[in-house]
């Protein structure tokens, strides 16, 4: 458009020439701009407004003519000098990283990196001493930014967060604290401190143990060495001597067989699993009574959790790993 070019004089001369030559012709909308006086009036939208409003205008004019004699015409509204401010000029991307395809994520990364560089001089503490933070999980983060962020990129963002989290807790600037807080998932799962288990007021120590598919819960009380498993005696439940030995091994190896009564409930799995689940449960309960026994129980191997489980059967195999016998044809 001619009227926007800075070289105004030439354009003005040209437009004058055009308007002179076209003087005889009817008024063309595009030439109406030549009569403008102020650059601030540059409002091409007015052309469209007139186009849209032609029908209504005609109606209004018709009404005005009829009511001219009866009613006084109102004054025109005040001139809006701020029109240049409210006129749209361009459509531009909202973020400088628009063309990357994931602008919000990249903006977050750049902002965090700038913060990291800004406060790089602050003293840091050991990673173990830094407060434990529950950062957003990947799925939550994807919801948060609304973009499909790859795992690797989210990990690199977490690295920045972790390194900023290591700033000495009493020196953390408010800016850093706020931006770190925006990446935390709601509710702090690390805020609740689990109180260590203790012997209750009745003198019972309660502990759980697992082995294979079995789960055992043991209540250990000081007593004369009575043992009840699911309300039955030990001999009834475990017919093999080896199982009975292994179930009570934590008490036997530290000579406490006649000092505690055991009341155990166990379910799931087979006989060996149940016996060894009781072993672990008794050992843990015994530690509540006498924490000093930990090293000898550790040496006896009764507080070590055996996390092995049955391996699943695979397709194409007879069992978990066994292959069918090879047949020539």
């Amino acid at each position: 458009m001619a009227r926007h070019t800075p070289n105004g004089i030439v354009q003005a001369m040209q437009s004058l020439r055009i308007s002179n030559s076209l003087a005889s012709r009817p008024n063309i909308p595009s030439l109406r701009y030549a009569t403008r006086k102020y650059a601030t009036e540059v409002q091409p939208e007015s052309a469209t407004e007139t186009v849209i409003a032609t029908e209504t205008e005609i109606q209004i004019e018709a009404e005005a003519e009829t009511s001219m004699k009866t009613q006084k015409v109102k004054a025109a509204p005040a001139i809006n000098f701020e029109k240049f401010n409210i006129a749209p000029a361009r459509i531009i991307p909202a973020s400088p990283s628009y063309f990357s395809g994931s602008p919000r994520f990249i903006d977050h990364v750049l902002r965090l990196e700038a913060l990291q560089a800004k406060f790089a001089h602050l003293p840091i503490v050991d990673a173990a001493e830094a407060p434990r933070m529950a950062w957003l999980k990947l799925a939550q983060f994807r919801d948060f930014v609304g973009e499909p962020v790859p795992v690797k990129k989210y990990k690199s963002l977490l690295k920045i967060l972790q390194s900023m989290n290591r700033i000495a807790p009493d020196m953390v600037p408010g800016e850093v604290r706020d931006s770190l807080a925006s990446f935390l998932r709601p509710g702090n799962p690390y805020s609740t401190q689990h109180s260590p288990r203790e012997v209750d007021e009745m003198g019972r120590a309660r502990a759980k143990g697992k082995r294979k598919e079995s789960t055992a819960v043991v209540q250990l009380v000081e007593g004369e060495g009575e043992v009840l498993v699911n309300g039955k005696s030990l001999v009834e439940v475990f017919q093999r001597l080896h199982d009975r030995e292994s179930a009570l091994w934590p008490l036997r190896c530290v000579d406490r067989l006649d000092k505690y009564n055991v009341w155990a409930t166990v379910h799931g799995g087979g006989v060996t699993g149940q016996a060894e689940a009781i072993t672990l449960a008794i050992a843990r309960a015994l530690l509540l009574h006498e924490p000093g026994l930990k090293s000898s129980l550790r040496k006896a191997g009764v507080i070590t959790v055996d996390a092995r489980r049955v391996e699943r059967k695979k397709a194409g195999h007879v069992k978990a790993r066994k292959m069918p016998t090879w047949v020539k044809r």
Partner: protein, 353 residues
């Protein structure tokens, strides 16, 4: 005197053995013990050192250190402050090269000199066997099997590119800085920040221009006025619009970004790029013959173009202050009308005016 060794040395070998005096030997000192000014930290925080008190406060660099506040943040701030006071002591380093300088404070196009280009290593091309003969007019000669780019040509082309960037910025164009090589990130982001432009420092997603609706469709856009202030009233009119296309693309590593340049060519988007001796200059609208493998060279060129863009944006905003638009603005009608069908919302199927 300190008696270092009580026993008589037995042999020459032992004599030759240079052992450090054990810590206990200081207790064998024959001198009279003197009280040294050792103070516990708690005392230090309460009353200043006797020596420090004798020096007037203005001259004493330890003045801040002595008055320690209790809050750790304040303590740290004072420690930093006192450290900065000591920075002025000692020898001064002048004209030292700071690799951060070209990113933090890049030179403007008027600062381009052949010395600066030479110092930044922009003249170093590739091995002669890898050359693209189309670059022969930019090549000054061969040295140790490597092509040397003519610096006067580089300077001229860089100035021309800076002019282009400035004019595009002054006309409200959308400029995209692309540098996808490792280490170019900061220079690219900084240049885009200066020029009010856009940046891409990771992989260019193929189809961002040719298939923009699919790839950039979800990215936010905004309507701004002549002063670049957002106009939130038009937000709902932006829903079904084609994605924004850049008006100028500046590519720091054109060899790796063939797809980007191809898409720019398809969409008639002019490109500026650093054209090393092995690159194809015909892929770029405004090539800048220079070394694209050195980060120092690419950051310098990105910085110069960023500064040019900054000048252009400043000019555009100044014109807007005077009420002049340097470009054809989008009209309300264009915003309201459906870009694909050409109908106003709610008038689908009716006769178009």
């Amino acid at each position: 005197m300190i008696v270092r060794q009580l026993g008589v040395r037995q042999s020459r070998q032992l004599l030759a053995l240079s052992r450090r005096a054990p810590a206990s030997s200081r207790f064998f000192s024959s001198e009279i013990p003197v009280d040294t000014a050792i103070q516990t930290p708690t005392q230090e925080s309460i009353e200043p050192l006797p020596i420090a008190a004798s020096i007037p406060k203005a001259q004493n660099p330890l003045h801040e250190v002595v008055q320690v506040s209790q809050a750790p943040q304040g303590k740290w701030a004072q420690w930093e402050k006192s450290k900065s006071k000591f920075n002025s002591l000692g020898s001064l380093t002048k004209d030292a090269f700071d690799p951060e300088d070209v990113i933090r404070n890049p030179p403007s196009p008027s600062d381009i000199t052949l010395e600066l280009l030479l110092a930044s290593g922009t003249h170093l091309g590739h091995s002669t066997s890898r050359w693209n003969p189309q670059n022969s007019r930019y090549i000054f000669g061969v040295r140790e099997g490597v092509h040397i780019i003519a610096l006067d040509v580089t300077a001229a082309y860089l100035r021309r590119a800076a002019k282009v960037v400035e004019e595009v910025a002054a006309r409200g164009g959308i400029i995209l800085f692309a540098g996808t090589r490792k280490g170019q990130k900061r220079a690219v982001v900084r240049a885009a920040e200066l020029a009010g432009a856009y940046h891409i420092f990771e992989r260019w997603i193929p189809g961002s221009l040719t298939n923009g609706q699919q790839i950039l469709g979800h990215c936010e856009t905004k309507v701004v006025n002549a002063f670049d202030k957002e106009l939130p009233d038009f937000k709902q009119d932006l829903a079904d619009r084609p994605s924004v296309k850049p008006d100028l693309v500046i590519c720091l590593n054109p060899i790796e970004n063939v797809v980007l340049l191809h898409e720019c060519g398809l969409n008639n988007v002019p490109t500026i790029g650093i054209c090393d001796t092995d690159a194809d200059p015909t892929r770029l609208t405004y090539p800048i013959p220079a070394n694209d493998d050195s980060l120092r060279s690419t950051s310098l060129i990105a910085g110069v173009l960023g500064r040019a863009g900054q000048a252009g944006q400043a000019r555009r905003l100044k014109m807007a202050e005077e009420g002049k638009l340097t470009y054809e603005p989008i009209t309300v009608h264009e915003l309201k009308v459906d870009p694909f069908t050409g109908f106003m919302p709610g008038t689908e199927g009716q006769k178009k005016d």
